[in-house]
């Protein structure tokens, strides 16, 4: 295996990196010692990069079971004077928030970076919460990059800042920054120090009430220092494009659209780019506002900078108009784009919006939502369960969870009725089972089980909840890109590990009805579900089958892969394979002919079991 590009030793060279890879590079240039995370899009490729590098990175990296665990692993590393990092998607910080809030009180020793990746527009998420609130909530300094190079630099310099201020630094990104690819200028890699040493200081690190009260005083002092740094930070800079009519305050990805729009339209003005956006540099902002006639704030999400500027203007008795979300020129919803800025700024500056986009005549297009892959074992689980439920399907409550299996929501499976967050499937199923007499079903994957599916299970046993709890064990964390989990026999970075066996964990929690079944055997799975549905108590069904994408990769490697095809003479066009199963590889053309697209078929063969007329069989390569 060749060396990962993130480990390139060629200093001053520019290389093409994904925002998430740039963050890893920045950490390695800062002498990172310890990193821990639970995968979550859009932050996943940070962990993937550490996982791929393995021992080559020369740092300790682990996938932890959830974000709170990861946060605490990193906090311990920092307390031992090591440079520590944890990273998560925005909602992951909700999980880690309990620890996060109090780390602000203890402060840090070794530099600690907390990367949180917001997802405006909900590309891969259940909400578009603006985690810049978290910097304010905990009173923790925050950096917001706009480019890949800045993501690297802010990570690298963030460790120094963290040690100087003695607080963790929140590096807040958005999907657009995490999944942007751009050139990054390489600096020297700094090797890890290896192990640290924990010097005891219970007055600081044991947060009993008396110590916590002192911790709060220390936090406020540290933030005074952070304010001084923010006032002078090179990440907070004015770009002067001439004139004093308008001043635009921008951060994150929105800054990019603003600066390109101004340059391409020859608009004069000043732009204050806030890269260290918490604490907001009050004096710098006041000076900026004094240098222009009106202010426009371009920030994705909530009007946080905008409200800060209104406050600063009031405190400084400035009579300046501040435009943004409070004046309805920009939206709190969705990620921004060049069009958002073109419309918002255009309106404010009186620049007519020239539309040159093509407007073709209308042709109705089918939507193309993401769906379970061809051969996906989750489809087989849902299909078998639906058969077992029969007429009861309509009233049964499908309490689902976060993972590929959420895609069971699509027709014709319609196997998702309720979802809040990681682990909500089993917790809410317990509630449903007490609140109604409907059949209740909970679904979550193997990785989600280890993340947050166990305490709900113990709760269900303890309170005698009655439902069917399915653990869809596809031997990986599939949706975020096939990261390992504790049930797979290997750790982050590739080292083997015994880990935990799901069945043993479930048994240890006190569950008496446990069945493990291969969902690719539709008949056996249907029988198991019939038994589980009839059981008077909590029934756990573990449907165990590797993710089809991983399985087909193995089959293609060892030469055992065979696609399947429809025998047109035997096919009665009953469409059962389409109307109840809906594997994306099975296609129905406008003449009603059903065929299997060989290009997409992953060779699972389950459609053979679904066809009532025995019309599907393996492609005989020699005949074709």
């Amino acid at each position: 295996m060749s060396m990962h590009p993130v480990l390139d030793k060629d200093v001053n060279k520019k290389i093409f990196l994904l925002g998430n890879e740039a963050i890893v590079r920045g950490a390695l240039e800062a002498g990172l010692d310890i990193a821990a995370a639970y995968p979550g899009t859009p932050s996943s490729e940070i962990g993937n990069t550490f996982d791929l590098m393995g021992d080559d990175a020369g740092v300790y990296f682990e996938y932890s079971t959830n974000e709170k665990v990861a946060m605490e692993v990193a906090a311990a590393g920092s307390a031992c004077n090591l440079r520590a990092m944890t990273f998560m998607k925005h909602v992951g910080l909700n999980v880690a928030a309990d620890a996060y809030m109090t780390i602000a009180y203890t402060g840090v020793r070794g530099g600690m970076m907390i990367v949180c990746a917001d997802d405006p527009s909900c590309h891969s998420s259940q909400n578009e919460q603006d985690n810049r609130y978290y910097a304010r909530l905990a009173n923790i300094p925050m950096l917001e990059p706009s480019s890949c190079n800045e993501a690297k630099e802010m990570t690298r310099q963030g460790f120094d800042l963290s040690e100087e201020i003695e607080l963790p630094i929140l590096l807040r990104t958005t999907t657009r920054i995490n999944h942007m690819r751009g050139s990054v200028e390489l600096g020297p890699l700094v090797p890890s120090k290896g192990k640290g040493y924990f010097d005891k200081d219970p007055g600081r690190f044991v947060t009993i009430p008396a110590h916590a009260r002192t911790g709060h005083i220390n936090l406020l002092k540290r933030m005074e220092k952070a304010m001084e740094i923010s006032e002078n930070s090179p990440f907070n800079k004015v770009i002067d494009l001439g004139g004093d009519e308008i001043g635009i305050v921008a951060s994150g990805a929105a800054y990019n659209y603003v600066i390109d729009y101004m340059k391409s339209n020859g608009i004069k003005g000043k732009v204050l780019k806030l890269g260290m956006s918490h604490p907001v540099p009050v004096k710098k902002c006041a000076d900026f506002m004094a240098s222009v006639k009106k202010i426009i704030v371009a920030e994705e999400g909530e009007p946080l900078l905008e409200n800060d500027l209104i406050k600063i203007a009031y405190q400084n008795e400035m009579n300046i108009k501040i435009y943004g979300k409070n004046t309805s020129h920009f939206s709190r919803r969705n990620e921004y784009s060049p069009d958002t800025i073109k419309e918002g700024l255009g309106k404010l500056l009186g620049i007519p919006v020239v539309e040159n986009k093509l407007v073709p005549r209308e042709v109705e297009l089918p939507t193309r939502p993401p769906s379970l892959c061809p051969g996906c074992p989750h489809r087989h689980t849902y299909h078998a369960l639906k058969k077992a439920l029969g007429q009861k399907f309509k009233e049964a409550i499908y309490s689902t969870d976060i993972g590929c299996y959420t895609l069971g929501i699509q027709s014709p499976l319609n196997s998702a009725d309720f979802l809040l967050c990681m682990g909500s499937s089993v917790d809410a199923a317990g509630g449903f089972s007490k609140a109604t007499d409907q059949p209740v079903l909970a679904f979550l994957g193997d990785s989600t089980f280890f993340h947050s599916g166990i305490h709900g299970l113990i709760n269900a046993v303890w309170n005698e909840h009655k439902f069917v709890y399915t653990i869809l064990d596809n031997r990986t964390t599939a949706m975020t890109g096939h990261q390992p989990n504790p049930g797979m026999g290997r750790r982050g970075g590739g080292a083997p590990s015994k880990g935990s066996d799901i069945e043993e964990v479930v048994r240890g929690c006190g569950v008496e009805f446990i069945r493990v079944v291969d969902p690719n055997d539709i008949k056996a799975t249907t029988e198991v579900y019939k038994e589980a549905l009839a059981y008077d108590g909590l029934a756990v069904v573990i449907t165990k089958r590797a993710c089809a994408l991983l399985e087909v990769r193995e089959w293609k490697k060892d030469g055992t892969y065979t696609p399947y095809q429809v025998d047109q003479e035997k096919c009665k066009k009953c469409k059962v394979c389409i109307s109840t199963f809906a594997c994306p590889a099975i296609e129905l053309d406008n003449d009603g002919v059903i065929s299997i697209n060989e290009e997409y078929c992953n060779g699972c063969s389950v459609c053979v079991q679904v066809c009532p007329f025995d019309a599907i069989g393996a492609v005989n390569k020699e005949v074709v």
Binding site: P338, K357, P360, L365, P369, Q410, M479, P584, E599
Partner: protein, 195 residues
């Protein structure tokens, strides 16, 4: 300062949109151009619509706005139509002709449109529309999976890129598995010949 060029690549999750985009962007950077791109990772990769943007020249934005695309490279015909808001009358639009039927259409919930009608609707508003049997050609080269390489060849043949077809080909070949080099070279050439 190099000239600005904005390329949109669209297709369906699993078609290799991302690797095509990485090859174009990487080849540009290697030739000394300033490049920033937007990729799609996550849920959409499971059979959803995937859109990648490549912005070349003195640009900070990694997204392409309405009417801003200079080139649209579409791996699937209805996705070319769906992306038309990003194009203007001068945009070069190259589309693979092979349909990928979404599940919403195959289960009969929605209808996959007649492709001739789609092609006509695009041609009515844009005269730089190039149709390409990329999937068929790729099969001829060895595997349908090489359709993205055929598309790259067609893109290079437009002469719109600030790098030569050879530079793009060389970069792409350096990134594919060694045993597929010959096949990808053939597929690239077939794409180039389509112009």
């Amino acid at each position: 300062m190099s000239e600005q060029l904005r390329i949109v690549i669209v297709g369906v999750g699993g078609q290799g949109v991302l690797s095509a985009a990485k090859n174009i962007g990487g080849a540009m950077l290697e030739a000394g151009h300033s490049v920033v791109m937007s990729e799609v990772h996550g849920m959409a990769q499971r059979g959803g619509v995937v859109v990648c943007n490549i912005c070349i020249g003195d640009l900070d934005s990694s997204l392409i706005g309405d009417g801003q695309a200079d080139i649209i490279l579409s791996f699937e015909p209805i996705e070319a139509y769906r992306a038309l808001n990003l194009a203007n009358k001068d945009t070069v639009i190259i589309s693979n002709m092979a349909a990928v039927i979404p599940v919403t259409a195959s289960i009969g919930e929605m209808k996959y449109p007649d492709l001739d009608d789609i092609f006509a609707a695009i041609s009515e508003v844009n005269s730089n529309f190039i149709k390409l049997e990329a999937t068929e050609l790729a099969k001829e080269a060895g595997t349908a999976l090489a359709a993205n390489t055929v598309m790259l060849g067609a893109l290079a043949a437009t002469g719109k890129l600030p790098i030569s077809a050879d530079e793009l080909k060389k970069y792409m070949l350096s990134k594919v598995p060694p045993k597929t080099v010959e096949m990808n070279e053939k597929a690239f050439g077939m794409g180039m010949d389509c112009k």
